[in-house]
């Protein structure tokens, strides 16, 4: 892998990986550290990326690093419920849309952690069910079920208000 290739991969995927790690951990600094470690490994071990899906490979590496960190520090409980998501502010927002955005944000943050992770990986990061299954070491069926439940719970949360 050339320096140019590496920079291109970094520019394309570093922020995505960080965002994913933030909604897994809720910790900005930790997500930066893990994302850096992942990219450091990619560069120093010259991991061949042409043949596979680089995004899911990076996410898988990030997930493994995150899980290993949790096991070491035993801080999983601390991370749960600490994720803060927000919606992009647009200048032409009307009051109705703004209210909907706030409701949506709250409903999303109310989802169980595992469901929210799978849902955001799919909807935000654009990963397919197969890719999410690979990253999270689960079957594709389990991911489909998890995302289905997440969407159902999200709609319920939204429409209960």
């Amino acid at each position: 892998m050339t320096a140019k290739d590496f920079k291109m991969i970094y520019d394309t995927h570093f922020d995505d990986l960080r965002r994913y790690l933030i909604f897994r951990s809720g910790d900005q600094d930790l997500s930066v550290d893990i994302a850096q470690n992942v990219f450091m490994k990619v560069w120093t071990k010259k991991i061949e990326i042409a043949s596979g899906n680089i995004k899911s490979l990076l996410f898988k590496m990030g997930t493994d690093e995150f899980i290993s960190h949790i096991r070491k520090k035993k801080v999983e409980k601390e991370y749960i419920e600490s994720v803060k998501l927000r919606l992009i502010r647009e200048p032409d927002n009307n009051d109705d849309l703004l209210e909907k955005k706030v409701l949506f944000q709250k409903a999303l943050n109310q989802l169980p952690e595992k469901q929210k992770t799978a849902l955001l990986m799919n909807k935000m990061q654009g990963l397919t069910y197969k890719e999410i299954a690979e990253v999270l070491n689960l079957s594709q069926k389990a991911i489909e079920k998890r995302i289905g439940l997440a969407l159902k719970a999200l709609k319920q949360n939204l429409n209960q208000r």
């Binding site: 320096a3 590496f6 920079k7 970094y10 520019d11 570093f14 922020d15 960080r18 965002r19 933030i22 909604f23 900005q28 930066v32 850096q36 990219f39 450091m40 560069w43 998501l85 927000r86 919606l87 992009i88 647009e90 909907k100 955005k101 409701l103 949506f104 944000q105 999303l108 955001l120 909807k123 935000m124 969407l151 999200l154 709609k155 939204l158 429409n159 209960q160 208000r161």
Partner: protein, 129 residues
């Protein structure tokens, strides 16, 4: 408007596209802080290795040409010398053959009583030559 109509599937999808996770540090800042020097060092190291390899590569090509040229010249001169030797040998052989043929033909025309005399003459001539 009933509460159930507040969010339809299309709106939910649209809101998903607007979800943002704020990032505190800029990725370019992280790059210059952590990766820039690492990548530069690695590239410099590999380019040194490359130039070392190229040095040998050039020597290799030069040596191959030298060997090719030397062997071509060697075999060329060897062929020339052996060809010349063969030519000289052929000329000598053909001259002797010619003389022998001449003598045989001449001998056919010599009378029996004169043969001894003719033979002695030829023998003396060939000894002198």
């Amino acid at each position: 408007m009933s509460k159930k109509e507040q969010f339809n599937d299309g709106e939910i999808e649209d809101l998903f596209s607007k979800v943002e996770i704020p990032l505190e540090k800029d990725k370019n800042h992280i790059w210059s802080e952590k990766f820039e020097s690492l990548v530069k060092d690695d590239v410099a190291l590999s380019s040194k290795k490359t130039s070392f390899f190229r040095l040998y590569w050039h020597y290799g090509v030069a040596a191959s040409f030298a060997i090719l040229l030397a062997s071509t010249l060697y075999f060329y001169f060897q062929n020339t010398v052996s060809q010349e030797a063969m030519l000289v040998q052929t000329l000598q052989d053909s001259e002797q053959d010619l003389l022998a043929d001449q003598t045989i033909i001449e001998s056919l025309f010599v009378e029996d009583n004169e043969f001894d005399e003719w033979f002695e003459e030829k023998y003396v001539l060939s000894s002198v030559n």
